[in-house]
């Protein structure tokens, strides 16, 4: 297998001693691991143990024929690249070998350059095949794990609701149980809300990923967007005894979708309030310089432990913190933020000190006065190239 630092392995199966010797030398000089075998049976044993990337096989050998070797090598691993050496280079035998699954053929006699060329080409193909296979497996595994995980997340509140209702159904309707019944019904409603939020966030995430949330790209004033959000959460902040502050210059313009910008800063600001401490503060500040708008949302809250920071923007990741039992969250807010920001060609980072607070820093390309009529088209073109993963 081709792994970084490990030389690729090429097997040569040929009954001609001179060919084995010269091929072995040339391949070793190319930095490859070469093994040579004098007949098909030994060669196939070698393939099974050495697990080579490539096999070069003579078509005309005593014992097992070259054609059969091709088939049996591919039974061991269909991804092994096979090149046939043929002393009687007729088109027919070459075509037959290709039909059996050979990648290319080398007519005798051949020069070292011809061998090098064909080996390099074959190994390149092998690398591509392996790479795409790895990628495919990774994607399948990731997707499968993700589906399991999402369904588990969706099921969890339903299970709790079911379990409460099941007990409530059997509970005597006496005054003794009234308070408990009321409490459990309230919990059921809270878990239903949790499920609603989860579905809503999940949908938002899917829309950002699918690009459908970016209906329009217009000049958006972040100053205005953020001030509106701060106004909305003023009451919530007061209830938590958290001070909301803003230091935003006029005219922080970006080129984006208004509702996306609202979702982004809504998430960051509500997080900063939720994960704060009584008497703490949230400060939103913004600057624009060198074509970039930078917004920071800083809180004086519980902070994020260092070991959690690398996973903070991953779907469903939640910081474990015993002080936060009652803080409901879907685990999708920050992944949504990251997707929106990267969709716009920006970045989002966090600095944090456990126990002292966190600062989220969002950098977005600033809106620019279009130069002539095609200004907006440039932006659209730019956006299309952004890697949103």
């Amino acid at each position: 297998m081709s792994q970084p630092g490990v030389p690729e392995t090429v097997l040569v199966i040929d009954d001609d001693y001179a060919i084995r010797l010269s091929c072995g030398k040339i391949l070793a000089k190319m930095g490859l691991r070469a093994e040579t075998f004098e007949d098909g049976a030994r060669g196939l044993d070698g393939v099974a143990t050495a697990k080579p990337d490539m096999v070069i096989v003579d078509l005309k050998m005593p014992g097992i024929s070259g054609m059969e070797v091709i088939t049996r090598v591919h039974e061991i691993d269909p991804q092994i690249v096979i090149v046939v050496i043929t002393g009687y280079a007729t088109i027919d035998t070459a075509v037959q070998a290709m039909k059996c699954g050979a990648y290319d053929f080398l007519p005798k006699p051949f020069s070292p350059d011809e061998l090098r060329l064909i080996v390099n080409r074959g190994l390149e193909r092998r690398r591509l095949a392996m790479e795409s296979m790895r990628h495919e497996i990774e994607q399948t595994v990731l997707k499968r794990r993700f589906v399991t995980f999402v369904s588990h997340q969706l099921r969890t509140p339903l299970v709790a609701i079911h379990q409460y209702l099941d007990v409530l159904r059997h509970l005597d309707q006496t005054s003794d149980t009234a308070a408990r019944r009321q409490e459990w019904l309230d919990r059921c409603l809270a878990r239903i809300d949790e499920l609603q939020n989860l579905i809503a966030d999940w949908l938002t995430l899917a829309r950002v990923e699918g690009g459908t949330l970016f209906k329009e790209r217009v000049k958006v004033d972040l100053n205005q967007v953020i001030r509106e959000i701060l106004k909305t959460y003023q009451q919530m902040a007061e209830a938590e005894n958290v001070l909301l502050e803003a230091s935003l210059p006029d005219g922080l313009f970006v080129w984006g979708d208004r509702s996306c910008m609202s979702v982004l800063f809504d998430n960051l600001i509500t997080n900063a309030i939720k994960y704060n401490k009584p008497g703490g503060s949230v400060t939103v500040s913004g600057t624009e310089s060198r074509g970039e708008v930078v917004i920071t949302v800083a809180d004086t809250g519980v902070g994020i432990p260092e070991e959690c920071r690398p996973f903070l923007f991953e779907e469903f990741f939640r910081v474990k913190n015993d002080g936060l039992k009652k803080t409901a969250g879907t685990g999708l807010g920050l992944p949504i933020c990251r997707k929106i920001v990267s969709e716009m060609g920006g970045t989002i980072h966090v600095e944090s000190e456990a126990g002292a607070g966190s600062t989220f820093r969002v950098r977005l390309p600033a809106w620019r006065e279009p130069e002539g009529a095609d200004g907006s088209q440039n932006h659209a073109g730019q956006a299309a190239n952004i890697d949103c993963r």
Binding site: H152, Q163, Y164, V167, K320
Partner: protein, 131 residues
């Protein structure tokens, strides 16, 4: 056995635990709760429960299995009955506790939401009580 059999529930969902614990307590069991694997192991060692109900997907995807593995390593806990309660899947084979312990050394599986009547029956059976 103590007057009241003690059951340890290891599950990160407070509401689920509350509802199940209510049923168990109403039926004469003492219930203790662990919110994650580490707490579950600590309580299992400290309280020596008569039976353990174990969730699987807590903070970590397979936390429950790791927790069972860890609990079984304690010589005093190798044979405590462990029932797995999970929404992770709808079926999981029931195992006789292997002497070697290991991830799957639980002895019964229940899919969430659980039928508490059935759960009670199986718990009583396992503890050798008559219903």
């Amino acid at each position: 056995m103590r007057d009241k059999p003690r059951i340890l529930i290891v599950d990160d969902d407070d509401d689920f635990v509350e509802a199940v614990a209510f049923v168990l307590e109403a039926n004469g069991f003492t219930v203790s709760r662990g919110r994650d694997g580490a707490e579950g192991i600590r309580l299992a060692k400290m309280e020596r429960p008569d039976l353990i109900l174990m969730d699987i997907m807590m903070r970590e995807r397979t936390e429950g299995f790791f927790t069972i593995h860890e609990i079984r390593r304690d010589p005093a806990l190798t044979s405590v009955p462990i029932f797995v309660l999970s929404a992770f899947c709808t079926r999981l084979p029931d195992f006789e506790i292997p002497s070697s312990g290991g991830w799957l050394s639980h002895d019964m599986f229940f899919a969430k939401p659980v039928d508490t009547g059935q759960l009670l029956e199986k718990i009583r059976q396992r503890l050798g009580q008559t219903a």
